[in-house]
């Protein structure tokens, strides 16, 4: 639908003297479901693409495709043009990538947050919930009202998992914590994000987490306007957005993950598989805001470290449902006041 914004102009940026010769003229495409100016999910992917171009010296291209029809068309367009590697940046691309892959066996499709491998389709899974769990632990100690809040774009499985991790982390350090969530059904409407946050503040929420891309900018704005309200960043290190109110971010180092995959493809030994990144290896991590160092409880650091170790060791599951909650209502509702 939208004309391809080919970013081959990036070629002008680096002469790429160190880059090895490119086998078979590998080209790398990226399709994002939203604008790369969201300072979160999509902008991270775009940085990854830039990193691939700079480090590997291969031509890269990006398009934005929002509707299922446009997304499939974009996948098809890259495959038909002979792109060797295409990043389809979101869970919503899974089915379309499988269909297109059946027709174009020479292209490798990476579906970020995807569900399964099929043909040459490989899901790239980020266990953001592991980092959200750690963010939740900090939030559980920082909340004074004992009510924490979450604003989501659409309740996709990875978004839901991150939310559950956040709530479980908070209840692990503070059993009195209640949690409230609001979904916008939208990733762009920052004004609606602000209204959602203001409504949550009215029911005593004083610490927020989000997974709403550009719409979350409204959550940050609401927190800036309301003294004592904090927001934990998501998908990228968002401390710089509002240094005074962001204690830390549950982030995905998308450039690192993208580059690792592109390197494998370039060397020719990529095998389609479920690619998982979590706290182990540091692609997914909790990035504290240095400005908050010293304001946090002293025992929290060691507890975070211990939780991180347990998650990596597999003895702590961030999304495990707490036993005392009903399956249907947990963890959205909590005890009602």
């Amino acid at each position: 639908m939208r004309p391809a914004r080919l970013l081959l102009g990036l070629l002008a940026l680096g002469a790429c003297t160190r880059a090895p010769a490119v086998p078979e003229g590998l080209r790398v495409g990226l399709i994002t479901p939203g604008s790369v100016t969201d300072a979160a999910w999509n902008s991270g992917a775009y940085h990854g693409l830039e990193e691939i171009h700079e480090s590997l010296g291969v031509p890269v291209s990006h398009v934005e495709a929002r509707t299922p029809a446009a997304q499939e068309e974009a996948l098809r367009a890259y495959a038909a043009q002979g792109y060797g590697l295409v990043f389809a940046h979101g869970y919503e691309f899974q089915d379309a990538a499988e269909r297109v892959s059946a027709e174009y066996p020479r292209t490798i499709f990476i579906v970020t947050s995807g569900a399964r491998t099929n043909h040459r389709v490989a899901p790239l899974i980020f266990r953001l919930e592991e980092a959200s769990y750690l963010a939740g632990m900090v939030a559980g100690r920082l909340t004074r009202s004992n009510v924490i809040g979450f604003v989501g774009g659409v309740e996709l499985p990875p978004v839901k998992a991150a939310y559950e991790g956040w709530v479980n982390g908070a209840t692990a350090v503070n059993p009195n914590v209640q949690s409230r969530s609001t979904y916008l059904n939208n990733w762009d409407d920052a004004a609606l994000g602000r209204e959602a946050a203001l409504a949550l503040i009215r029911v005593k929420v004083d610490v927020f987490h989000h997974n709403a891309d550009a719409a979350a900018l409204g959550v940050f704005q609401a927190a800036k306007e309301t003294p004592g309200v904090l927001v934990f960043g998501a998908n990228a290190d968002q401390s710089a957005l509002a240094p005074a109110i962001v204690p830390g971010s549950a982030m995905i180092d998308l450039p690192r993950a993208f580059l690792a995959i592109a390197r494998e493809v370039q060397k020719g030994h990529f095998m389609p598989r479920v690619i998982v990144f979590g706290l182990e290896g540091g692609v997914v991590r909790y990035e504290p805001n240095p400005a908050f160092t010293g304001t946090l409880p002293t025992d929290l650091g060691p507890r975070l470290q211990a939780a991180r170790d347990s998650i990596i060791a597999g003895t702590l599951r961030p999304t495990a449902r707490p036993r005392h909650r009903q399956a249907g209502a947990a963890p959205r509702a909590g005890a009602q006041g």
């Binding site: 790369v36 100016t37 902008s43 609001t182 762009d188 920052a190 029911v203 968002q238 009602q336």
Partner: protein, 306 residues
Amino acid sequence: MMLDAGVVDGFLSASVRVATPLLLAALGEMLAERGGVINLGVEGAMLCGALAAALGAASGGAWTGLAASGVAGLALATIFALAAIGARADQIISGTATTLLAVGLTGAVYQAVFGSAGAGLSLPTLVPVPIPGLADVPVIGPSFFNQPVTTYLALVAVPLCWWFLFRTRTGLALRAVGESPEHARAAGVAARWLQFAATVTGGAFAGLAGGTLVLAQVGTFAERMTAGRGFIAIAIVVLGRWHPVGVLGAALLFGAATALQFVFQAMGLAVPYQLFLMLPYVLTLLLLAGLVGGVKAPAALGRAAE
């Protein structure tokens, strides 16, 4: 549950906040439609207004941003008017094209100015200004009279639009054009000039609506941040029966329904959130079906004047 006074006040203020950009855009669209022009470019004009507000506020403060948003909306509506009125192109297609143009244009300009990595801007905003006396009235005081200046602008525009449409010769001529441009012309009215003027003025209103989102609400710009409000504004014009007071009521109703669904979600009821998100739209549909049934649109709406 916690339905205390704070929650009620919060709900009313939120209703007015959500309604403000819708009211501005819908009043502008109402002017155009009264002259027989249906402008689907409202969404685009809002988006251009939002970006212009961000650019203006970044360089010259919130008031510069507000002025820039009106000018940007007017400029985009001029493009639409040149095609739909000047060249008599199909109004639906011209309007849709104008909105698509604005989506691409604002994205490209935003990325060119602020970089492709995206900037969470911290723009100067228009803070709520309490109106002495009125702001202390119980219940409606804080929600209607402790708001940013753009809300007052929208509220004052309601009687002004009414006065213009129903108490001035030009307003009468515009309404005549909307019913039958041929007859209006025969009576000596410059039909197409009037349509042009009403459409670009409507565009300025839509631009201000976009500016409201940036300057009075989020303090930053995000691509496609208007998220369909322009189209909702068009529905509000119909729901408000092409009358300024009706449009005010419809905008407030939609604002209230949106605010209410956030109150419901925030209360943490174990109900699928999609049900709450449907609320404003279901309400609009029900009212359109039940209330507006007998009302007639301007007879020449959507038809190019000779």
